[in-house]
Symmetry: C3
């Protein structure tokens, strides 16, 4: 029996090293590597961030962009032996929120795409629920949607890592 995880959810705070950890996990899973980027370069701050992350990946990685139709990208590009690294769920949700999409339906569609893909999958998400309740309703809606999506994905992924200061803690499967 093979006990290597085929799907891993990597959660962490802002600037926690979660992208780097996810990339390192993905590179240990195989050689046919596809990076699925959800970021959109609206401003210089985001452009810098995208460029910095891209510079961290070597030539073994191909990149596709899927700011909105992430489930479609997983269906289109998923094949056996390929590793899909999705970075990140939070920007995807945020793009959906801005385009006024149904967040829960989109979440269900993503969970289905991940359940059905023959590819190996590493997903990166920002854990955003550990602060004070945000003042504005949109931020609260976003936080709720992110939390529910992470729960649904964590229930279905073989492994879940929480990254703090670059150190990963494997929460699933449990250590004991």
């Amino acid at each position: 029996m093979d006990d290597k995880p085929r799907s891993i959810l990597v959660l962490g705070g802002a600037r926690s090293g979660k992208s780097r950890h996810a990339q390192s996990l993905a590179e240990g899973m195989g050689r046919d590597r596809l990076f699925i980027a959800t970021a959109q370069a609206f401003d210089d701050e985001m452009r810098d961030r995208i460029a910095r992350h891209r510079a961290d990946r070597d030539a073994s990685w191909r990149t596709v962009e899927a700011p909105v139709d992430l489930p479609g990208a997983i269906r289109d590009h998923g094949r056996a032996e390929r590793i899909l690294l999705v970075d990140c769920l939070t920007l995807w949700l945020s793009n959906l929120l801005l385009s006024d999409a149904d967040l829960d339906a989109a979440g269900r569609s993503l969970v289905r795409a991940i359940a059905e893909t023959p590819a190996l999958v590493v997903l990166v998400g920002n854990e955003v629920g550990f602060g004070i309740v945000p003042d504005n309703a949109l931020a609260r809606r976003f936080r709720d949607a992110a939390g529910r999506l992470h729960q649904d994905l964590a229930a279905r992924c073989d492994a879940v890592d929480l990254v703090v200061a670059g150190i990963a803690l494997r929460m699933k499967p449990p250590a004991r």
Copy 2:
């Protein structure tokens, strides 16, 4: 010797699945189950949330409301073999803050009620201290009070779980 915890503190972020985890723990502890709700339905958002949580509990649960006098509810309803599920500490603190109560005195009174009750207790709290320092002084006071209360309760409870994306990590007693 019985090493099953008689008091468990469940902490987690917003939409982390902490309520569901706490309920599942509580249902494993016995059959005489009382849900102590601290939520007050001020607006539609909160009314929805309360209804959703109530729908998650089956008919084996009775519910009492204790938005302000939570220590009193624990004293009144605590008896041997009964499981009290308090959901959640954060709304209780927030109700106290709005009614201008002495948060530290209330916290001490709650810790005492929990120490003295013959019942088994599961407590749910929102960990809110992992974000940027809030702009407004009230939010900072709230965050400080929540943190101190969680520390006091964690020191006294037999077990402490941290829930992230529906996955619980037992922090106390430690794994090693």
Copy 3:
């Protein structure tokens, strides 16, 4: 072989008990104890906080203040057998931000000072990256700088603890 950590990074949320945990670790490491305080008493809230923390330490502790030149303080006071407890990195970064310093250069200078000191070191930092993205650009810059600094220090420290509700979870070295 000595497997006791010589450098420990303690991370936690606001009011998580991280200072107390760090102090307790430090007191177990030796008897020549120096507390390096980065706090500046700008207002009553901060003055109270400093006084409360100071009252928690017994007479075995000497205190020096290093609100800005923390690397210099570590170089000046670090000697073999001495324990330096730095509390906290977050206030230091925040002081640097207010004085318009180069945060990344300062971070590198701190990492170097810690790598070179003959002293044992315990560092306390506030994990601030687990909330919703802050509205204002300065808070985002601060959050990014704190995250990067924590990653750099975590990579170099022998041990990393995450404190939640007064309970410490050793993240590095890993439990398994």
